[in-house]
Structure formats: C-alpha cells, structure tokens
C-alpha cells in the first residue's frame, strides 16, 4: 500500500481485558482504504476480540478506533459502519434467502421495487441468482455463507468484517469460496478484514497479513514478506514449516557444532546465541560423498531417517551432525528418483545463505 494514503481504519493502543485476562494488549494498527487484511493467529491470540472491538460488539477496555477520520471508539455497533459475516452464517432461519438479504434494506425504507432489484443483483454477485425463496436450512453450507455475504454487503458498508467465514465449510468449498471472496473484493473494493487461523487462507487472500500472538502483533506484511522474511521465531514457526537450530555467532557467521554457516548476521556480536532457521524446501540435497565437502561452506553430511510421500513432493527426515537434531527437507518426487534416495541414504545437505534467517535468543 502506498504510504501517502490516509489510513481508513486507525487502531491505537487498543487493550481488551476479560477479567484479569489480557486478550489484546496495547495494539496499534493502520488499515488503508480498499485493503484486504487478514488477522492470522492461533486460537486465543486475540484476533476475534480485535474484530469484535472494531465492530463495537465487545468494546475495548482502552485505546481508540478511528474509521474514515471519525473516532468511533464510543459508538454503539448500530452507529458504526460495517457489515459482518460469521462462521455460523447466522442467517435468520425463519426468513427466506430474499428476506435475509433484504433485512437491512427494509430498514432504510427503500421502495419495494428497489429492494427487489438490489437483492437480485447482490445474489447475482455471489453467484446465487436462483433459490431466493428457499430457507437457509435448505441450502448447503457454502450457499448459506454466500447469502450471509450478500446480506452483509446489502447496505453497502464501508468495512466488511469476516469472522472465520470459511472454517465451517468442506475443504473443496472453502478453496472455491476463497477465490470468490477475493474476486468480489477486487470488484467492490470494500475494505475487508478477515479473521482466520488458517495460514493458507490468509496467504492466498490477503493484501496484508497481521500475524497475532498473545494479544500482540508479531508481524504485519504482505503474504510474501511474512513467509520469506518472518520477523520473529513465532511467525517463522506458525507460517509454513520451518527447521530451527541452536547456534552461536562466530566472526560474522553462525556456528553449529563443528559447522559454520555464512548468512546475513546483521550486527549481532560474537558469542551471542541465535536460532538459525531454514525452510524444508530451501534445503538443497545432493549425493556427492566422493567430492570434497569443504568446497561449499554451508554443506554437511546427513543421513535419511525416513521418507514421507506427499504427492508432488517428498518430505525427508534427515539426521545431521551433533546440534542439528532432526531436519525436514522437501524434495520433488522427480529429484528423489534422480538421487535414488531411500531410507538410510547418505546425502550432502546445503543451506543456501540467502535462505537462512537467524533470531537472537532472548538472554
């Protein structure tokens, strides 16, 4: 997002207590107009609490929320400008699809004909032009969530809040709806916040991801940034799969046992304990037991403990020298055949410098 843009939603120093429990702790965040934001984190991290505070459903204990230049911190939900979709759909069971979508419009005292047209176009938008006279119980989960979505969009809110909207759906429907929601956002440009614990969902849908843990923001960034340059061990561990190793800074390099690895060490001083991380797909493997190992600085000998076939690729569990523990490395099925990898194979693993990241241990 361009920096010059004015923030549409501005959250400052927001804290929420439940009794003695701190659900959200002094959290500040800016969301820009038209952005698709994901709050991502494990359950209990405060992401839903934050969403409900923005909606005014469970007001924050302290801190302020500004929407579109207006301080909404003290407004009841009915005076805020948002549409909301829940995991449970929360469709009114005794009203038809049409009546559900028209629910908010009828309140604005629009003429009947206009309501009819608007509902029709909304249902068209979510790909459900038929079924208007059906009741929610007669629809599938995916269809219900589409109706809930068009109901939330009916009053043209400035902010769309999605609280784990896909979590109750089947895997296939979930993936399809992901793309549709994203496409819908592209078309309408409404600022959207999606709460999810599903990293794949966040990575595939969001413009920016807010990774949360223990009521705090761990990192804000594009999916690419979050994945390739995690800002903390938590993010590194939570997003994707990651290998962690204990090491020590030694003259600008990282030393683990007998091996040293060159990588970006910033200005961390010598002797500092660090955690070295590398993703399984970034580990390079080759069978060059004959060639000289010192050729490549970041390489070391490993043994294949086990192989797990995962369709398009294989996950190898490798045991390395002292200090490495068990490493996970992903190889394409093609590569596995080429290298003739089997259990107990001996390989050389290489950690490419640019794919290594280190986190200083808190002392």
């Amino acid at each position: 997002m361009p920096e010059s843009k004015q923030a549409y939603l501005h959250i400052e120093n927001l804290t929420k207590y439940f009794g003695e429990f701190v659900a959200v702790s002094k959290l500040s965040l800016e969301i820009f107009s038209g952005e698709f934001i994901c709050f991502l984190g494990p359950s209990g991290c405060g992401k839903t609490t934050l969403l409900r505070a923005i909606a005014g459903l469970d007001p924050q204990s302290s801190g302020s929320i500004t929407q579109d230049g207006k301080n909404i911190s003290n407004l009841p939900p009915s005076e805020r400008d948002f549409g909301i979709v829940f995991q449970s759909y929360a469709l009114f069971p005794n009203l038809t699809v049409f009546q559900n979508v028209a629910y908010g419009l009828e309140n604005q005292r629009l003429p009947k004909e206009e309501i009819r047209k608007r509902v029709a176009s909304l249902l068209e938008l979510v790909g459900m032009p038929e079924h208007t006279e059906k009741y929610p119980a007669q629809l599938s989960g995916g269809e219900q969530q589409r109706v809930a979505l068009s109901r939330a969009l009916a009053t043209s809110p400035g902010l769309l809040l999605l609280d784990e909207p896909l979590s109750a759906l089947d895997a296939r429907v979930r993936v399809a709806l992901r793309q549709e929601i994203r496409a819908l956002h592209e078309r309408l440009g409404v600022t959207t916040i999606l709460v999810t614990h599903d990293q794949e969902e966040a990575l595939s849908m969001a413009d920016r991801i807010v990774v949360m843990n223990d009521g705090r923001i761990e990192q804000i960034g594009t999916p690419e940034e979050i994945y390739s340059t995690p800002a903390s061990p938590f993010v590194a561990d939570f997003i994707g799969v990651m290998n962690f190793m204990q090491g020590e800074i030694f003259s600008g390099k990282v030393r683990i046992g007998e091996n040293t690895f060159s990588c970006e060490t910033a200005n961390i001083q010598d002797g500092r304990k660090v955690r070295l991380t590398v993703r399984p797909e970034d580990i390079l493997c080759r069978t060059d037991s004959t060639s000289d190992q010192s050729v490549s600085l970041n390489s070391f000998a490993v043994k294949v403990e086990s192989l797990e076939f995962l369709g398009s690729f294989c996950r190898l569990i490798l045991s390395g020298p002292e200090g490495f523990g068990k490493l996970k490395a992903d190889l394409s099925t093609h590569q596995v055949h080429e290298l003739k990898v089997t259990q107990d194979s001996r390989l050389t693993a290489e950690f490419p410098s640019r794919n290594l990241r280190i986190f200083p241990e808190s002392s």
Binding site: E20, Q60, S62, S64, P76, S78, E79, P93, N94, N107
Partner: protein
C-alpha cells in the same frame, strides 16, 4: 455470549488508561428499562411478600417485635412439632416409591421395544390434568369407610399416612416420569456398543453405563418429588384424617384459627426443606450440563421379547391403576348416593345448588387460566429475552435471572400466605388488588414462573448468539429482530409455556386457597370446600370438570403445535 461486554474493567489501573465507555444506543436504553421494570415487578411480587412473611413470624398479634417467641412456642407444641416428622416421612417415602416405579416405567418407554409405548406414556401423564385432590377423592371411594376395596387394607385406615402416600404417588408420578424419560433418552449408543464389544454382561452394562448416565436425572427427580409432596396441601387435607403435616398446619393456623403469626412460623419451617431441595437440585443441574455437551449417537433399543413383555406387564399394572383412579372418580360423580343408591344422576354436576361457588367457580378458573397463559407467557418470555439478549449490564441480568429462579424455592402455600400479609396490609398502595382476580393471576404466574422462565431461556439459547450482532450491523432496531426472528423461532416454546401455565392455573390449590374471595372462587378450591362439607360426589364432579377442560386444552395445544410444526417445517431443521 457477549456478556462480558461493558464490564467495569477491574484491571484498568494496570494498563494506566481510562476505560472506554460505549455510548448507549436507544435500543440499549429500551432493553435496560425493560430489565429494571421486570426486576421491579419481581421484587414487588416475590421479595416484598416474602420479607413481610419473615417479619410477621417475629411479631405478636399486635404487630410488636417479639424475637423468636413464636418459634419457641411452635417447637414447644408437640402437635405442631410432630408434623415435621410426619411431613418428612411422607415426602421421603413417596420420593423413594415414585423414583423406583417411575424409573422402571421410564426405562420401559425409552429403552425397550415394548408395544403401545405412546399409549402408556399418555396414560401416565393423566394426573397432570387434575388437581392433586382428585387422587385423594378417588382413594376414598376405593378404600374409604364405604370403599369397594376397603377389605384390602386389612383393617388399616386409608385416612392417614397410607392414603396420603398413595395419593401423592399418583399425582407426582408424571412429574417424575418426564424428567426420567429425558434423562434416559440422552444415552450415547456408542457407550453401549463399546460395552457389548467388551462382552460386558447386561446387568453390568446397566450399573456402569445406564445408571451413571441417568444419575443426575434420578437425583433431580428425587428432589422435585420431595418438594412437591412436602409442600402439597390438597392430598393431606382430603385424606389425611388426623394425620397432620406441615402444609395442613399452615392452613389450619391461618384459615382455621386466624393465628397468622403461627402460620408464618410454620410456613418458614416449610420453606426450609423446599429451599434445601431447590439448592441441591440447582447444584445437580449444573453438573448435568457438562455431561450433555458430548456429541452422542442416539441409542436405539433392539427387540428382546422376554424383556419387552416383562416391562409391558409392569406398565400395564401401573396404567391400569391410573385409569382406575380416574375412572372411579368419574363413575362416583354420576352416582346418586354412594354406596346405598347407585343409580345414575347428573345432580352432582348441579354445582349451583352446592356450597362451594357453583359453576361460577369453574368459569373463574378458566378465566384465571387464560389470563395466566396470555399475560404470564408474554411477560415471562420478555423477561427471559432480556436476561439473554441485553448487551452489557451483566449484573442487572443476573439479578433478574436470580429473581426468576426464586419462585421455584417457594412453596405455593408459603407464597399465598406471604401475599395475604403483604397485600392485605393497610399501608400497601397495592391493597386494592386483595380479593380480586388480579391477585390470583399475579400469584399463579409467580408460583409457576421459574419453570416457564427456564423453558424460554432454553429456546432462546438455541438461537445463534450472532443474530443480534448481524441485526446491529444492519442498523435494525432490536424490536424488529425480536418480532421478525426471535419470536417466530421461539413460538413453540412460548406455546408450551402458555399451556403449562394454563394447566397449572386450572389445577392449583395451594397458593390461591388463601387469596380467593366469594367473587373469585375457583374450581380447584371448590373441590376442596365441597369435600370439606362432605359433598364428596360433587367434589369429584368438579375435579372431573377440571380434568375435561385441561384435556381439551391439551389437545388444542397439541393440534396447534403440530400445525405450527408442519408450517415451519421447511425452515426448522427437523
């Protein structure tokens, strides 16, 4: 639930910032005012009367405070004190007998393939349609001095503990059965399959799976039966003879001897076991919640001819006794002069010729029942809605909920006396209600408030808690969502509550017996008075009128519910 919403945050000082106060919307104001209004109503209709009763027990006839004088007097009067042991003895005996019989009956209904289960269930629920007095009257015809089966008692008299226990067992049976059927219906089939896979003998499955699963239902039944019996006054009044119990003592002190202070003392003594049973039952109920939350596969009994016929025989005997009880009262109500002239007559239904209020009493009862059903269900539903759906103000909602739970702990007799003291007080601006239909309606609604409140609350809790959040985001006023969604979805529960209130208003004696006036005589009270005057056949006839009316209403309710269910089947997920 968003109950934590506007809690005053205790930990604010930790964060160092001031707490955010959300501006109160117009809806919030309406809901909170509703809460306050209902709390006020309950305080006036429950708390104030009970307080007056309490203070009365510490006063002498002139209203002077005398401390524990009345209590000392009470415990020094053996005739009064004996009633405590009598009451406890009867209540515990009935609790044990009914628990065993109703458990077997409920087991037969839920866990066997015995034929005619629906019929047996219907027959066992008959007593709900009748005042408790009916059983006592019927027993007099069977086993009384002129009874057809008097010899079966081997010289023992039905007028006394035997009669009280037998009649009580009859009228509390359906209450016990309903809880036990529910408890036994919630079995998890997977437990039985696991037990079978482990080759567990059937008796061991019963002891290790069935009984523990129904444990809380059994305990709850025991408490409820105990409370119903110890606070019932109709049965011992009619068939107790010289056998005094707490409930009849209250009546004698207040109505017979006009000794209101002593009546207050006895009511407090009566209140004690009821409150203990209430608290114990609440505790049990809370435990049960955790048990039910598991995702269970419903249990389907398999046919087993020997077992099924054994249970069939058992249920047939019970059902036969039930029908015999009702049939004898019905038969006797058409007899000219038992047992000397057994010719058929309708004279006993000519209530206007008897002492006891005549047909007017019957019409009053119907009026009372309709008022209670209409106003009671509306008010109680509103109250439970406010408890469940108001945003914030947790403490107000808790107060209203506690206020709604309180009446369950207060026996009808105690409530009735408390109402006399409170509404008959010369300084009470609400005194104009005394002796009117109004006070009967209020008293009856309050008397049966708690069960209705819990029924509504259960229905409301089944709604998605996010409905209100969605409605708020769509800028819909709360009353519109209430009218368009909440009310239609909860309509079946609302009908159940209306029906419950109607039936109880038709059959109740205990509270209203202190509050009726000559103009507001009720059918159930008329049964009592006619029996008192020796007009047993007309008393039976009036009791039967109550049964017929209740049965008609029950059928109408069933038809309406079925129609509603069919109409809304499309959107109810069956």
């Amino acid at each position: 639930m968003s109950s934590v919403a506007a809690l005053p945050v205790s930990a604010t000082s930790v964060s160092g910032a001031s707490s955010v106060r959300i501006r109160i919307s117009r809806d919030d104001i309406a809901l909170r005012s509703g809460l306050l209004l209902l709390i006020t109503l309950l305080v006036v209709a429950v708390v104030f009367p009970l307080y007056t009763l309490l203070s009365k027990s510490f006063e002498d006839m002139d209203g002077e405070f005398v401390g524990l004088q009345n209590f000392r007097e009470y415990f020094e009067t053996p005739a009064l004190f004996n009633s405590i042991t009598n009451s406890l003895g009867v209540a515990i005996s009935v609790a044990i007998i009914v628990l065993v019989l109703a458990f077997v009956y409920a087991y037969a209904l839920t866990r066997t393939k015995m034929p005619l289960r629906g019929l047996f269930r219907g027959i066992a629920l008959i007593p709900i349609l009748a005042p408790s007095l009916l059983a006592a009257i019927s027993l007099i015809y069977w086993f009384g001095n002129q009874g057809v089966l008097k010899s079966w008692l081997f010289g023992a008299s039905i007028y006394g503990p035997i009669g009280v226990i037998m009649a009580s067992c009859f009228w509390v049976f359906p209450h016990a059965l309903m809880i036990l059927v529910t408890a036994l219906s919630t079995a998890d089939a997977r437990l039985y399959e696991a037990a079978e896979a482990l080759r567990t003998p059937k008796w061991r499955v019963f002891w290790t799976v069935t009984l523990p699963g129904a444990k809380y239902g059994i305990l709850s039944t025991g408490f409820i039966v105990f409370t119903l019996v110890i606070t019932d006054f109709g049965v011992p009044k009619v068939i107790g003879g010289r056998f005094n119990v707490l409930a009849t003592d209250v009546y004698k002190q207040v109505v017979g001897q006009q000794n209101f202070e002593m009546g207050a003392v006895v009511s407090l003594v009566l209140l004690l076991p009821a409150v203990v049973a209430f608290i114990a039952d609440r505790w049990v109920q809370r435990k049960q919640v955790a048990l039910l939350s598991a995702r269970a596969v419903p249990f389907q009994p398999k046919a087993d001819p020997l077992r099924d016929w054994l249970f069939f025989s058992f249920c047939s005997i019970i059902a036969f006794i039930f029908i015999a009880m009702l049939a004898m009262a019905a038969y006797a109500s058409f007899i000219t002069f038992w047992p000397y002239n057994l010719s058929f007559t309708l004279d006993n239904y000519d209530f206007d010729l008897m002492d006891g209020g005549g047909w007017e009493a019957y019409y009053n009862s119907i009026r009372l029942a309709i008022y209670c059903a209409v106003f009671g269900s509306g008010l109680i539903f509103l109250g439970s809605y406010l408890v469940e759906k108001t945003r914030g103000v947790t403490w107000l909602r808790t107060i209203l909920h506690l206020g709604a739970m309180l009446p369950l702990a207060v026996p009808g007799l105690v409530l009735g006396i408390a109402y006399i003291f409170f509404f008959n007080h010369p300084d009470n601006p609400l005194g104009f209600l005394y002796g009117t239909m109004g006070i009967l309606v209020i008293c009856t609604i309050v008397h049966f408030y708690t069960v209705s409140h819990l029924t509504c609350l259960t229905a409301l809790k089944q709604l998605d808690p996010e409905f209100e959040a969605v409605a708020l985001s769509l800028k819909t006023p709360v009353w519109r969502t209430f009218r368009k969604v909440t009310l239609p979805v909860c309509l079946p529960a609302l009908l159940d509550v209306a029906s419950y209130l109607f039936l109880n208003a038709m059959t109740t004696v205990s509270a209203v017996v202190f509050l009726y006036s000559p103009e507001t005589m009720l059918a159930s009270v008329a049964v009592l008075n006619m029996d008192d005057a020796g007009d047993i056949a007309p008393a039976a006839a009036m009791a039967l009128m109550i049964v017929y009316t209740s049965a008609c209403f029950r059928i109408m309710h069933a038809l309406l519910s079925r129609y509603l269910k069919r109409r809304t089947q499309v959107w109810r997920n069956q």
